[in-house]
């Protein structure tokens, strides 16, 4: 029972922390551009504002359009619950393994893409088509990365993987290095950051994620915005807890878990800082360069897999 309560607490922690991470990245970016910038907690205010706004629905909107925000948010929260953020011993971890996690993200994206096309505006369709194109290239690379990881730790369960990696001695396994590089590239593409998508743009014709959700307003937009913040947070946690797993609690001890919460917070914020720097020093890529970018990610993932099979399997 305690385990379930702690799992709930962990999920809440991640869901509530997500807007701060986005605000933090924005804040750092502003500082890097010599701008004043909004406070890191601005996204909370934005969400609060959206919650007070009326929903405007297009006449042509079908039930899918109305259901999509709830599905997207629900699935993303579910994904948050299975991720070993603070402890590897939570009962939720056995609910889903890493392949189901990829499936969760795919499900959310599927509904978002449907909703983008639902109303029938040109921008929505364009955004959906781009999103699906990008993800069809990103997903194989991500799965390949996870396969390598699973072979390395002999489990597809993420909690076991994190526990294995944090218990193991620090080794520079070539397979993991390649895989993590691939994972970072994929995460940037999947969360719609520069150089693939620009979360700050107002230009409809250049948007990917934003184009799909242009027709949303009020609480619907709140859920979708929150879900996308959550997605960035989940990918960040995934990356930091796989690359530097130390600090994640291997027990259900409250002290350990509190310490783990602080550690993961620090790690994710450092990653956010790196993301902000990376986004500041480069311009967005041309859209037709994205397949090349994701091709590199796939090659890296493949290299990881091959170096594991060739070098590491005894």
């Amino acid at each position: 029972m305690t385990g379930w309560i702690l799992a709930l607490v962990q999920t809440l922690f991640v869901v509530l922390f997500a807007p701060f991470l986005v605000g933090w990245v924005k804040w750092v970016k502003c500082k890097l551009q010599n701008r004043q910038g909004p406070a890191p907690w601005q996204p909370y205010r934005d969400l609060l504002r959206l919650s007070r706004k009326q929903v405007v629905l297009a006449n042509t909107a079908s039930p899918i359009f109305r259901a999509a925000p709830y599905v997207v948010f629900g699935v993303t929260v579910l994904a948050a619950s299975v991720l070993p953020t603070i402890s590897t011993q939570l009962p939720t971890s056995s609910l889903a393994d890493v392949i189901v996690l990829v499936g969760f993200f795919a499900l959310a994206r599927f509904f978002l893409a449907l909703a983008g096309m639902d109303v029938g505006t040109a921008f929505g369709g364009m955004g959906s088509s781009r999103e699906v194109t990008i993800s069809s290239l990103a997903e194989p690379a991500m799965l390949m990365t996870f396969f390598t990881l699973s072979m390395y730790v002999s489990s597809t369960n993420l909690s076991s993987a994190v526990a294995f990696l944090s218990a193991a001695h620090f080794t520079l396994a070539p397979s993991l290095i390649f895989s993590f590089m691939a994972l970072i590239l994929v995460a940037v593409a999947e969360t719609g950051r520069i150089p693939i998508d620009n979360p700050a743009t107002h230009l409809e014709l250049t948007m990917i994620h934003e184009a799909m959700i242009l027709e949303y307003s009020g609480r619907h937009l709140l859920l979708i915005e929150w879900a996308s913040m959550l997605k960035l947070t989940l990918y960040s946690i995934l990356i930091v807890n796989l690359i530097v797993p130390w600090g994640v609690s291997l027990t259900l001890d409250p002290h350990d878990m509190a310490f783990a919460a602080l550690t993961v917070l620090g790690k994710v914020m450092v990653l956010g800082l790196l993301l902000a720097i990376a986004e500041t020093v480069q311009a967005k890529m041309r859209l037709f360069r994205a397949p090349q970018y994701l091709g590199v990610a796939f090659i890296l993932a493949l290299l990881g897999m091959m170096s594991h099979i060739i070098l590491e399997v005894q």
């Binding site: 010599n34 040109a122 014709l205 250049t206 480069q282 311009a283 967005k284 041309r286 859209l287 037709f288």
Partner: protein, 540 residues
């Protein structure tokens, strides 16, 4: 390199040679002295209107503008053509009821929209005897806001207009369709997401590749020409300053120049020097802002912020010295309203030195930044041939190698006393346009330095005394977007009877349509920004 680049322009004849060419090619001309200013005016028969364009177009003469003027019972139509050393105005008359004119569009694509506008405003129908040419007969301006048989610039039409209770939706405008497997239309605007003016863009795209773009402008028609009628010259100057807010100095200078030419008013040297200082400062401010904005459109906000800062500092200095951030209403008929004190000369020169220092650091960084240049280079290429064919002006033309610049080619005071370098590029892509504008900032900084150093002494303005007879004049000014043509006619009481400002956007909007083929959809905003036509200046 320069020789090849300037070819199109260098091949063009001088204005006098062009008149000879017309006479020899069966277009007899009669000199008209009515329109005063730095342009020669000749009258031709209306039925030779198209033929004159055919002759001019064969000799690389650039088409610049066409406008009408209602003097019941006739409509005087004037077209401006640019030779290598200035402008030739062709003039003809048609009756104000059922007037017809052979179109110049078959020889000059640039004439298409202005001729449609002429029809909307005066009811002058155009036709062509060219069998293989299709003439667009759709309305161009303000769509359904008045009935198709009403022509607002006829003197019988009231200033207040004849507004309908409700403007009908403009849903019957037929865009040029594209057909084929997988071809789809993307309608964008008229209301856009950013803080920009309204205009509609209709794309035909296949996947992410744009097959064609068609613009539908005219949403911000304010009736500027009609509003100008009956104003005195000072009122006109204030109105001209608001034709397009970002070109306030250039437009008010062009309008004042036209008035001064018409009424034979000589502006004191100091006033002219200050006007040039204002115009160059306006050019720099806009170039700074747009370079940053172009970079922001490819997700590189660092440049936006840095150039935004430089522009802000620059405009604050405008406010300190000239009392207005955009220097609005400083240019006035007869001179300028604000003098520059010796302390302000020092202040401005310090500002120039500081801007130069910062640009020396920033511009090379942008021009060499790999991920940025990767986006800007080879995007939205306007070839030299296309630029010439459609008669582009300003930095859009110069980035493609077509180097028209009035300050050098047909210099008006005070530019006749200085050498104006005209930067150009041969690539014609977004990077080229950004680069040319960066270089132009340096040219303007040099000009500013020399004007400030040799600021003539004396009065800044002279009283504007209207002549007691009807008169008209032409103003030709190189604004930051390109050449501005301004025509002003005054009546015997010194009131404006006709004002026509031709913003360079009339000639650069079609350039955007021409350069967009083959560009991918997400690169359109960047291409649009790199051309940056004015909606307000075009829609009038």
């Amino acid at each position: 390199m320069n020789k090849i680049v300037n070819q199109g322009q260098l091949e063009a004849p001088t204005v006098d040679a062009l008149v000879d060419l017309l006479n020899r090619s069966g277009v007899p001309t009669t000199d008209v002295t009515e329109i005063k200013g730095r342009a020669r005016t000749v009258a031709i028969e209306s039925k030779l209107w198209g033929k004159a364009a055919a002759v001019a177009s064969r000799h690389h003469v650039r088409w610049s503008a066409v406008w009408g003027e209602h003097r019941p019972p006739e409509i005087y139509v004037t077209a401006a053509l640019a030779g290598v050393n200035g402008h030739l105005l062709l003039r003809t008359t048609v009756p104000d009821v059922g007037g017809e004119l052979p179109s110049q569009t078959p020889y000059y694509p640039a004439a298409n929209r202005p001729e449609r506008y002429l029809h909307d405003m005066f009811g002058v129908r155009r036709f062509t005897d060219q069998p293989d040419v299709f003439l667009d007969e759709r309305r161009w301006m303000r769509h359904q806001a008045w009935k198709a048989d009403q022509h607002p610039l006829l003197k019988s039409f009231p200033v207040a207009g004849k507004p309908l209770d409700e403007t009908p939706p403009d849903c019957e405008y037929v865009f040029v369709p594209a057909e084929g497997e997988g071809v789809y239309e993307i309608p964008v605007g008229p209301v856009h997401a950013g803080i920009i003016e309204p205009g509609h863009f209709r794309f035909n795209a296949m996947g992410e590749d744009i097959l064609s773009l068609e613009q539908h402008l005219g949403y911000v028609h304010k009736g500027i020409e009609k509003l100008a009628e009956g104003r005195d010259v000072h009122g006109l100057a204030r109105l001209a300053a608001r034709v397009s807010g970002d070109s306030t100095v250039a437009h008010s200078w062009a309008a004042c120049q036209a008035c001064e030419n018409a009424a034979d008013v000589t502006v004191p040297k100091r006033g002219l020097a200050i006007r040039a200082i204002l115009a160059e400062r306006e050019r720099i401010a806009n170039h700074l802002g747009d370079i940053g904005a172009c970079c922001n459109d490819v997700g590189f906000p660092f440049a936006l912020v840095q150039f935004g800062r430089l522009r802000e500092l620059w405009q604050r200095q405008n406010a300190t010295v000239f009392g207005h951030r955009f220097m609005m209403d400083v240019v006035t008929p007869g001179g300028v309203t604000r003098d520059i004190s010796p302390e302000h000369v020092t202040l401005l020169r310090d500002g120039i030195a500081q801007l130069r220092r910062e640009l020396d650091e920033l511009l090379p960084l942008l021009f060499e930044y790999p991920s940025l240049q990767d986006r800007l280079r080879t995007t939205g290429i306007l070839s030299l041939e296309t630029a010439r064919r459609i008669g582009a002006v300003g930095y859009v033309a110069r980035a493609s190698g077509e180097c028209w610049d009035l300050r050098r080619d047909a210099p008006y005071a005070p530019y006749d006393k200085v050498t104006v370098k005209v930067p150009h590029s041969v690539e014609g892509d977004v990077a080229g346009r950004v680069h040319v504008r960066g270089e132009e900032i340096y040219v303007s900084l040099d000009l500013l330095d020399s004007f400030l150093l040799q600021l003539p002494t004396g009065a800044i303005k002279t009283d504007f005394h209207p002549v007691k007879a009807a008169c008209s004049g032409i103003g030709l000014v190189e604004g930051w977007r390109g050449e501005i043509v301004s025509y002003v006619a005054l009546d015997a009481h010194g009131k404006v009877s006709r004002y026509f400002p031709r913003d360079p956007s009339w000639l650069t909007w079609p350039a955007l349509e021409a350069l967009i083929g083959g560009v991918i959809v997400p690169d359109f905003p960047l291409c649009n920004k790199s051309v940056n036509g004015s909606y307000s200046g075009h829609d009038l």
